[in-house]
């Protein structure tokens, strides 16, 4: 969104309280959604739960095309449609719900830096593994991505998406990396997160912030999603404080009797 449009939306957003019928749209959970989208979606859901805002999750095959920015997930609240965690955080702040108000400037700078680290390393690594690694792409990503569509559209869309992601990897210099190097990067990122978390319950004091939501979304999805091999999940599992962090957030915010919000055929269900 352009800056003027963003300011306008914030103004409108501030006018109304959070409605009861807010909806979050994501691709189909059982068959279509991929690791990176699932992680982003879970991060947004966690953030909204931490704010105590009710939202209903609705799965649509064309969620990506409905989204204003082309990225999932997006939320439909009242008259507005907002996509991606960053703008959603700003939107909820305009409505008067914010998690990071208690932080001072230096801490806020740190929080933004760590969120960029997660986006830069974890999200990019997920995209790389999904689309630039030939075996994962052929066995998992392309079939899943194009599952709602019939031939020949499914082939066209899947290869188009793969081409787009590979172009992006090329532009940021990741296309020259091998899979081992990507796993190593993920490990470094998790090490940084683990050291920052230390023994605290959350990343900043005792209150959760959007950084906790983002980290939980990515780590939980990595731990519970089945890929061609388990190496990614193993890298995360080697950091015990991150594992207990995920357990804690899951217990606090996602305690549901049937656990239908978390498990699917694609995911392995419970945390190990």
């Amino acid at each position: 969104m352009s800056l003027a449009a963003e300011a306008f939306v914030s103004q409108i957003a501030a006018a109304e309280p959070w409605p009861e019928n807010a909806t979050l749209y994501q691709p189909l959970k059982e068959d279509q959604i991929l690791l990176s989208d699932s992680a982003s979606s879970l991060a947004v859901q966690t953030f909204l739960r931490m704010c105590g805002l009710p939202v209903e999750v609705s799965c649509r095959a064309n969620a990506e095309y409905m989204s204003p920015s082309g990225k999932v997930p997006f939320i439909h609240v009242g008259n507005q449609v907002v996509s991606e965690l960053g703008p959603i955080v700003q939107f909820t702040k305009a409505k008067g719900h914010a998690l990071s108000d208690g932080l001072d400037d230096v801490q806020r700078a740190e929080m933004k830096a760590y969120m960029e680290l997660v986006n830069n390393m974890l999200l990019t690594a997920e995209l790389y593994i999904q689309w630039c690694d030939d075996s994962t792409s052929a066995e998992i990503s392309r079939p899943r991505y194009s599952s709602p569509y019939s031939w020949p559209l499914n082939h066209v869309l899947a290869y188009q998406k793969q081409w787009e992601v590979r172009r992006k990897m090329n532009a940021i210099g990741w296309s020259g990396k091998s899979l081992e190097q990507v796993y190593e990067d993920v490990s470094q990122c998790c090490q940084a997160l683990s050291q920052r978390l230390g023994t605290q319950p959350f990343f900043f004091n005792k209150q959760p912030t959007e950084l906790d939501a983002l980290v939980f979304g990515h780590l939980f999805t990595i731990l519970t999603t089945q890929l061609t091999n388990d190496e990614l999940a193993e890298k995360v599992k080697s950091y015990t404080n991150l594992l207990s962090f995920c357990h804690r957030i899951e217990q606090t915010y996602f305690k549901e009797p049937e656990r239908e919000g978390q498990s699917s055929r694609h995911s392995k269900g419970a945390l190990p």
């Binding site: 920015s69 082309g70 830096a113 992006k168 940021i172 990067d185 997160l193």
Partner: protein, 303 residues
């Protein structure tokens, strides 16, 4: 990020400079005009490594090699980060990610995509520093790489036009500069009193923005208002690079405290020159406009 880990595993023989860095040359008071080269050079200085700098200007390496490049042999390690705690190491990674994601697109845009800057500063400089016939290809290739990187990472589907992305990337870059300024506070470096790899990264990104004489420079103006970041850059230049810069400049007196005054004067002169150019342009418009009759005696007074 690859640069960072490459740096921490460099080995050299302490006796003579067995470490060779190939990078773009310097100008505008900087040892090198390119961000990545600056990062490597400043990291080497912080870690007290003996580095021989070889410039790729005017060689065919501008197109065959991806600069900067390190060539090394030997046994001893170089590391500027051994005094950092684990948490500070994690913070370093996070801030580097922030810089790459928020500041780098706007820097690329300022130098390579903005038409005025590209035509008046960047392309002439790189053209003049590349051998024939590479001077026809090299700047254009860098510019298109920069543009594609910005569009692919920042432009989402409705914002397919570069002008709409501009607003977003500049506001993110200004926010990033503000965050860095908050984090630096009143300290000389980001982690206490001695410089580390994070300082090298920040310096590499900010120094070209601070020093380059950009014609259209909203980001530069914003940076100039952040006193502590400017101070940070200038003190690194003064303390770590001033001897090599003095050789290059062929100036007799190592007037280190006068550098900032000179820089200010230079800036003011540029502003005044720009304004007088604008006045001349307006003048020409007035003269050539058919509505106004040419008043030659008035014009000669202005010019």
């Amino acid at each position: 990020m690859g640069l960072l880990f490459w740096c921490s595993f460099m080995k050299t023989n302490m006796a003579e400079p067995a470490l060779e860095v190939l990078c773009w040359g310097g100008d505008w008071g900087l040892p090198s005009v390119q961000t990545d080269s600056l990062i490597v050079l400043s990291y080497g200085k912080f870690a007290d490594a003996k580095i021989a700098v070889k410039s790729v200007d005017w060689t065919w390496r501008t197109i065959t090699a991806s600069v900067p490049q390190l060539h090394f042999e030997g046994t001893t390690r170089i590391n500027a980060d051994f005094e950092l705690t684990a948490k500070q190491g994690a913070d370093t990674m996070a801030y580097i990610a922030l810089l790459e994601e928020k500041l780098r697109p706007a820097l690329l845009h300022s130098f390579w995509v903005d038409p005025e800057n590209y035509a008046n500063l960047t392309r002439p400089w790189f053209t003049s520093h590349s051998p024939f016939p590479l001077n026809f290809f090299v700047p254009g290739r860098q510019a298109s790489l920069a543009l594609s990187r910005i569009l692919l990472t920042k432009a989402e589907s409705p914002l397919l036009n570069i002008t709409e992305v501009e607003g977003k990337i500049y506001s993110e870059a200004k926010e990033c500069l503000n965050l860095l300024s908050h984090r630096l506070g009143n300290f000389p470096f980001f982690f206490g009193n001695s410089p580390t790899s994070l300082d090298a990264f920040v310096f590499g990104h900010i120094a070209p923005l601070l020093k380059a004489p950009l014609p259209s420079a909203q980001l530069q103006k914003h940076l100039n208002q952040l006193e502590n970041l400017c101070q940070f850059c200038n003190s690194i230049l003064k303390n770590y690079f001033i001897d090599s810069m003095a050789e290059r400049r062929n100036d007799c007196s190592p007037t280190a405290p006068h550098d900032s005054v000179d820089a200010n004067l230079q800036k003011l002169t540029q502003l005044v020159n720009k304004e007088s150019n604008l006045i001349e342009k307006m003048d020409d418009n007035l003269r050539s406009s058919p509505q106004h009759r040419p008043h030659s005696h008035k014009n000669s007074a202005l010019a």
